[in-house]
């Protein structure tokens, strides 16, 4: 492999990283928002969210990507490929994250909440100062797991022509007729991205120790 193929690979890795990164960032926050709204148990809205979650979790990523990219124009929306890719990944990961956050809400210590109420904290303060920091620590392993699933599922965005880290290996081997080196290199790059996530998980686990009373 020469410098140019490496450059192409890195470009592909960058595309995978930034598109997944944006979807992860939005998906983590959106998942939290969905879980929050679900905790309020508002009729209709709650049912709608339940349906969304089951649909999004059951739909293969490729299908979701194609669906968004092809359906948007029928509503008169001109959809940029990257945006369609990000939307599909986000819709997918937010549904999984919503379940992770929801589990954290449901298992949160009633005693700690009562101690906060007794000090005069409002629900907003309790959520921000007492619950969220702990929920973040306890949910991080699950969230990171989901992030790595998302990155590993991200080649699905290639179906609408985005040249991500997997797609670029095809392009390279189409020119060089040597498929193995670029695929091995791509695998190494995926591993680097994922291992950075696992590092994050490690840090969270150390911090989680102090939450066990």
């Amino acid at each position: 492999m020469n410098a140019q193929t490496w450059w192409l690979l890195l470009e592909g890795a960058w595309t995978t990283a930034w598109i997944s990164g944006v979807a992860i960032a939005i998906g983590v926050v959106a998942g939290l928002a969905i879980a929050l709204v679900r905790m309020a148990r508002i009729p209709v809205i709650d049912q709608v969210l339940v349906i969304y979650i089951s649909l999004a979790r059951a739909t293969p990523l490729v299908t979701l990507v194609l669906f968004i990219f092809l359906v948007a124009p029928t509503f008169g929306i001109v959809m940029n490929r990257n945006i369609a890719g990000i939307m599909a990944l986000t819709l997918n990961t937010a549904a999984f994250n919503a379940e992770i956050w929801r589990a954290a809400f449901l298992s949160f210590s009633r005693e700690q909440k009562e101690a906060a109420l007794a000090c005069g904290m409002t629900n907003g303060v309790i959520f921000r100062r007492i619950m969220l920091p702990q929920m973040f620590t306890t949910s991080l392993p699950g969230l990171v797991n989901e992030m790595s699933f998302l990155i590993k599922g991200s080649p699905a965005i290639a179906v609408i022509g985005i040249v991500d880290l997997t797609r670029v290996t095809n392009r390279i081997s189409a020119v060089t007729y040597e498929p193995l080196p670029p695929i091995l290199a791509a695998a190494a790059l995926y591993m680097i991205i994922i291992s950075m996530l696992l590092k994050l998980q490690d840090m969270a686990e150390k911090k989680a120790n102090r939450l066990t009373m």
Binding site: Q112, E114, A118, G120, M121, M213
Partner: protein, 252 residues
């Protein structure tokens, strides 16, 4: 309003799933007073305490904190969440299981509510917290996380946390019941100091010696009804009912 009682409870009743746990409870706690609530398991002591700061909602009756009705107004309308929280801040609570916030250091457990509820400046909150932690003998552990502390230490931090809001009354729900016997003394010692300093306290406890030494008033709950209330000397030496006599015999 210096002469309004710290807590005034009038005809308080509460049921869980149709079973009456408190019936027509009347109780007045004056400022500077220590009231002990005694009674056997399941008699409704915790429920009574938790109604005072509206952690449980009573079915009937009125509770006033420093003259202000908590939970509902006199027309039965629910209090807005913000007002309820502000009134709760005037009552401190110490739980059997400590309930410290594990993600915060000892210092931050104590400063959290003053800063984020009262809006006290951080520096000021830290200064007060240091004084309070010193008072409960925990100043040397300010930077420690709760999981590193013994039960007695956790409970002393929890007391400092309650004091930090300068409450009008502190509610203690069996503060020493979860402690190893050798750690009970350090917590009761702190509570004795507080009563000597004039703090208003309502204490649910099974520590008879403590109740006798520190209380101004002892109240005995039986199946949700206050069947006896008296000054401690009278309560412990000449109880009026057979029920209390039996209870005290078992505690010997």
């Amino acid at each position: 309003m210096p002469d309004l009682p710290a807590v005034a409870i009038e005809r308080l009743s509460k049921s869980f799933n149709g079973i009456e746990v408190l019936r027509d409870v009347d109780l007045t706690v004056n400022r500077g007073e220590v009231v002990s609530i005694l009674g056997s398991s399941g008699s409704g002591k915790s429920t009574l305490l938790r109604c005072i700061n509206w952690l449980e909602q009573p079915d009937r009756g009125a509770i006033r904190i420093g003259g202000q009705r908590i939970g509902v107004d006199d027309n039965g309308r629910r209090m807005p969440a913000r007002e309820l929280a502000a009134l709760r801040a005037k009552t401190g609570m110490v739980f059997q299981s400590f309930n410290l916030w594990p993600h915060l250091t000892v210092l931050h457990n104590v400063t959290e509510a003053p800063i984020h509820v009262k809006g006290v400046a951080k520096k000021e909150a830290v200064r007060t917290a240091r004084e309070l932690l010193d008072k409960v003998g925990m100043a040397h552990k300010m930077e420690a996380y709760p999981y590193t502390l013994s039960g007695g230490q956790k409970q002393r931090v929890a007391i400092a946390r309650a004091l930090a809001m300068s409450p009008e009354v502190i509610l203690f729900d069996e503060p020493t019941s979860a402690l190893d016997p050798e750690l009970v003394g350090e917590v009761l010692g702190v509570m004795k100091d507080l009563s000597a300093e004039g703090y208003t306290m309502v204490v649910v406890t099974h520590e008879m010696e403590f109740a006798r030494a520190v209380s101004d008033q002892v109240v005995f709950l039986d199946k949700g009804i206050i069947i006896e209330r008296a000054a401690p000397e009278q309560f412990f030496t000449a109880p009026e009912t057979e029920r209390v006599r039996k209870f005290l015999e078992l505690k010997q």
